[in-house]
Structures are given as structure tokens and as C-alpha cells.
């Protein structure tokens, strides 16, 4: 379970301080898929980066399974499977070696890494390329390898930053099925997206972010009710206050 309370973060730029995240609260429960929806530049990636301790928040805190990320960053990272926005692979290593490297960094032994790789390989349909060096991989193959590498330690909490970005229809559908299976295992799945349809189709709960703040949160039905819109898309636009950046 992931809890985020009063998160704030600003960046200094030439034109003053940009408040990227300006008071974000939400909770992502186990056994649910929580979607972080918002237009580009709303503060989704920065929020997630503070969650997996890449950045330190100026205010607020992050709790993962009750552990404070500021106090115990390494233990928090061990409980998270992270697919960041940056998902580069080591091109001189095979997909299997890429996955094994992260398994070792999580402290797993060789036998366990092998067993997990076999399972992930089957679930993500990676047989064709698992023993190839990743140089020249297609976008889908790279994303699958990056997801396998993020999940090799079997984390209870899975955080994905725009996982379907740039994927073709077939891979997107496979990925959706995979996320649903993670949820059905009882994991806490949190992913960000700027694509409304994506979030609407997958999520049990939706957190809408705009201008660094949470502007609406709840199940799709709750969102429709609270905004008074029958159509989910209209509900989003009303919550965010603009249509800008909502469509990919």
C-alpha cells in the first residue's frame, strides 16, 4: 500500500521557482489499480520520483507499506517495483542479464532470479528475445524487458510511469492483461498516464492531477457523480478545467 501526504516540490528555473508538485495526497490500496491521470506537465512524474526516493520532497511524506520513504529509503525501494519514465537497458547485456542484474541488486540469489525470470518471461511473452543483447530491440521488447527487470524481486507495490507510452496495440493489450493479473495477485499497482481511455479502462481508482494538485479522486462512478457528467471524458475535462494535453 502506498500513501502520499501533502507532497510538495518546486524547481528553480531561470524564471523563478516552478511548483511542480503543490500538495498532493492520495492512497493506492493493495489489490487495486490506481491511476494517476493528468495532462503533460501536471506533476505526475515528479510525484512518482519522490515516491521511489529519487527526489526528496520539500514537504509532506511518502509511506510504502507503512514505511517512511525519507527515513528508510533503501527498504522502501526494496518494496517497490519501479518502471520509471527513463527505461534504458544495457545494450551489451542480454535481456536475461539485464533482468538478473536488477535481481542481484535486490539481493536475490541466482536460483531465485532464474525462477522469476522464467515466470516473467512467460507472463510477458519474452521467449523470442530473452537471450538476445538488447541493442536493436523494438520499443515493445524494451518495455517488456524493463518491466521484467522492475518486477524480478516480486514487489508488493508496482509503480509505472506512463507504461503504455509508444507501444503498439497488441503490446498495449498484453500489458493491460499483465497489470490486471498483478492486481489479482493482491498487489498495489500505481500507474500514471495522460491518456484518459487508458485510465478509464484499467483503474479501480483514479486520482486526477493538474497543476501539481489533486483536483479529483475516486472510482470512475464517483468521478462521474461528483462532476455531474454522464461521460467520463467530460468529467475529466471538468475536473482539470481544460482539455489541454489530455489526448495522445
Amino acid at each position: 500500500m502506498i500513501r502520499v501526504e501533502g507532497l510538495r516540490k518546486g524547481f528553480r528555473t531561470r524564471n523563478g521557482v516552478v511548483r511542480a508538485v503543490d500538495g498532493v495526497d492520495f492512497e493506492a490500496a493493495d489489490g487495486q489499480i490506481t491511476g494517476l491521470l493528468g495532462p503533460n506537465g501536471a506533476g505526475k512524474t515528479t510525484t512518482l520520483r519522490m515516491l521511489y526516493t529519487l527526489m526528496a520532497p520539500e514537504a509532506g511524506r511518502v509511506l510504502v507499506d507503512g514505511l517512511d520513504a525519507a527515513a528508510e529509503p533503501a527498504r522502501v525501494r526494496a518494496r517497490l517495483g519501479v518502471l520509471p519514465d527513463a527505461r534504458g537497458l544495457y545494450k551489451r547485456l542480454t535481456a536475461r542479464e539485464n533482468v538478473a542484474y536488477f535481481g542481484e541488486l535486490h539481493g536475490l540469489d541466482t536460483a531465485l532470479i532464474e525462477a522469476r525470470t522464467v515466470r516473467l518471461c512467460a507472463e510477458l511473452d519474452m521467449h523470442e528475445f530473452i537471450d538476445r543483447r538488447t541493442e536493436g530491440f523494438s520499443h515493445g521488447q524494451r518495455t517488456k524487458t524493463a518491466i521484467a527487470r522492475a518486477l524480478v524481486h516480486d514487489p508488493r507495490n508496482v509503480v509505472l510511469d506512463e507504461p503504455t507510452n509508444g507501444l503498439d496495440v497488441m503490446t498495449t493489450r498484453a500489458l493491460r492483461r499483465f497489470l490486471l493479473s498483478l492486481r489479482d495477485d493482491g498487489r498495489c499497482v500505481l500507474f500514471s498516464s495522460h491518456i484518459m481511455q487508458e485510465v478509464a479502462r484499467l483503474c479501480d481508482r483514479i486520482v486526477v492531477i493538474a497543476h501539481g494538485r489533486v483536483v479529483a479522486a475516486g472510482t470512475p462512478d464517483q468521478l462521474r457523480a461528483s462532476t455531474g457528467c454522464e461521460n467520463l471524458e467530460d468529467a475529466f475535462v471538468k475536473a482539470i478545467g481544460t482539455e489541454e494535453g489530455l489526448y495522445a
Binding site: 520520483r49 529519487l54 533503501a74 520509471p84 527505461r87 544495457y90 545494450k91 542479464e97 542484474y101
Partner: protein, 392 residues
Amino acid sequence: MRALWVVLRKELLDAFRDRRMVAVAFLVMPLAVPVVLAGTAALGARKQAAQFESTLELPVVGAEHAPNLVDWLEQHNLDVVAAPADPDAAVRAQRHDVILRIASSYGEDWRAGRPAGVEVIFDSSRPMASGATIARVRGLLDGYSDTVGTLRLIARGVHPAVARPLLVGTRDVATPEARFDLTQQLLPYLLLLLAFIGGMQLAIDATAGERERQSLEPLLATPASREAIISAKILATAVFALITIAVTLLAYRVSFTVLPDDISGTDFALGPGALAQLLLVILPIVLLGATVLTALAAYARSYREAQGYLPLLIFLPMVPTLVLMVAPVRTQAWMLAVPFLGQNQLILKILRAEEVGPVEWALSLGAGLALVALAWLVAARLYHREHLAASS
């Protein structure tokens, strides 16, 4: 600790699979260094032979005033030719190393028994190119002057020894190993340079490259601490540089057994013990270089920017050599604690087959490793900056 080992192993595996990096480190360097050093030595030996033994063409102004002197010079393997119109300009333009000018009053002075004027025209700003030639011409002139002077004394019934109150002899106490040539003066610099930046490509690739390929952020999202990650990357850089240096030294050593003596220059008769000592001396520099390179790669915003610091890094190991060239001083204890300078002195000692004492070892290694620790703290700080991974 485990994370450190995991990252170190992966970085080395990654580097050894990079064919270009491996080819440069383990093929080009070990081939290039002996070729450059042996080539310099061979060139030097050949030039020396040419300057001392071959027939030297010597333009002489006013040769007609001193036919006997000209005869003497020609008997001593000099080819006296007509001088150009403007001798000073000709020397300055390097058309001739030396030009001799015989004063028009030469004959008159000679007959009167006064010192006759002879002028050697040369350019002292080119000691490397013309120093030997000048010395040769001067030696011949001194020889002529001595010979004629001795004859004159005898002709006046004076024993020539009267004009020689001193008998100056020389005794060279240098050991044979210490009489090394240019080749081995270059070696300390090359060694320090290789030690300092030998792992450059790996260091830049492992941090700036890792960030540019977008794999640094996922790496930092694992439980591995940044201290462990950066230490592993520094160690991988150091290991890679050390292997490069060991292979290069071995290749250099082997080149002396393969190449004929006159090409390879002075014998580089270092045994395995001395080679091991050389590696130990430069170990702090290897670690310092790896740490500084990694810190720079973390500081730079891109791969290219990191590579831009290269000229600065090449210059650093040169400083002590330059200082010693301008102001040669006797080795003092404090110098051993100065990075590069201390290593430079110890390398020279080892090449001269002199014993390096325990205090010298302690000073050099202690000061070097303390500096490495300091650089590590800076590098670790840079690795904790937020925009290290999250620049986009």
C-alpha cells in the same frame, strides 16, 4: 557491500563486451607506447650518430683569411662551403645549424701572435636541434687553438704544462641503470598519464553514458545505495586502467627482447619485482583518476561535456615533470606526498634500480590514498544531487 560487488562485476562485463573500448585499451595502447618510446630512442640514437660521425657541412664566412684553419676543419670530417650572404638570417631560418665567421683581420693578428677572431653563429633557442653540432664545431676550434698554442709554447722553449695549472678529470658515479636516456624520461609521464586517465572511457560511459541511455534512474530506484554504486563504478574504472597499464608495461618489456638493441635504445631491464613496484606506486593515481573522472561524469550534463574536460586532465600529470624540467631539485621527503610529483620521483627511483624505503612508500601511498578519499567524498556528494538522474 554486495551491491558494490554486483555493480563492479556488471560494469566490467559491460566494458569487456565493448569491443572498441577493449581494442583501444588492450591492443592500441600496448602497441603504441613501445613503438613511440622505441621510435624516439632509435631516432635519438641515429641523430646523435649523424651529428658526431657524419661529414658536417659548415658554411664559413671569410674562409680565405684562414686557409690553415680551414684545412684543419676539413681534415676533421667537416665540409667547408661558401656561406650565404646573410649568415645571421640563415641560422635563424634554420637553413644552417652553425655558421663560422672568420674576421678579416685574422691573418694579420695570427702573424702578430695576437688572438685571431673567429665567430660561431648559432641559435641558442634550439638546443635540441643544433646543440650537438655546435658542440662539435666548438670542440674542433678549441682543439685547433690548443694544438697551435702548445706548438707556440714549445717553439719559445716553454713547457706546455706551464699553461695548464689544473688537470681536470671526471668520474661518473652513475649506475648503469641510472644512465637512462630520453626514452625512460618519457616513461614516468606516460605511466602517470595512463594511470590518471586510462579508465576515462569506462568512467564516462558508466555514469554520463548510463544517464544518457536512461538506465541510471532505474538503477537508482533499486535498494543499492548511491555510495555503493559510485564506489563500484570507480573501482571498475581503476581495475580497467590497471589492466591496461600492466599489459602496456609488459608489451614494453617484451619489445626490448624482440627489437634489436640499436632500435630499442637503452635496455629496459626491469624484472617482475620492479614492474610490480611500478604498479603499486601508481595505484593511488589510478584510484584518484577513476574517482575524479567519475565525479566529472556525474557533474557534466552530457557525455560530450564530460569528454570536454580531457585536456585539463592530460595537463595535470604533466605539471611535476614540467616543474622538474624548469627547476631540477634534489628529491626531498615532502615531495613524495605531492600527487604526481611524488609518484614521478619514485618511478625514477625504481627505473634507476634504487631501493625505495618504507618511509617513502608510506608517504607516497598515504598521501595519495588520503587524496583519493577526499575526491571520493566530492564524487559521492555529486552522485546525491537530484538532477543527476532526473534531468529531464
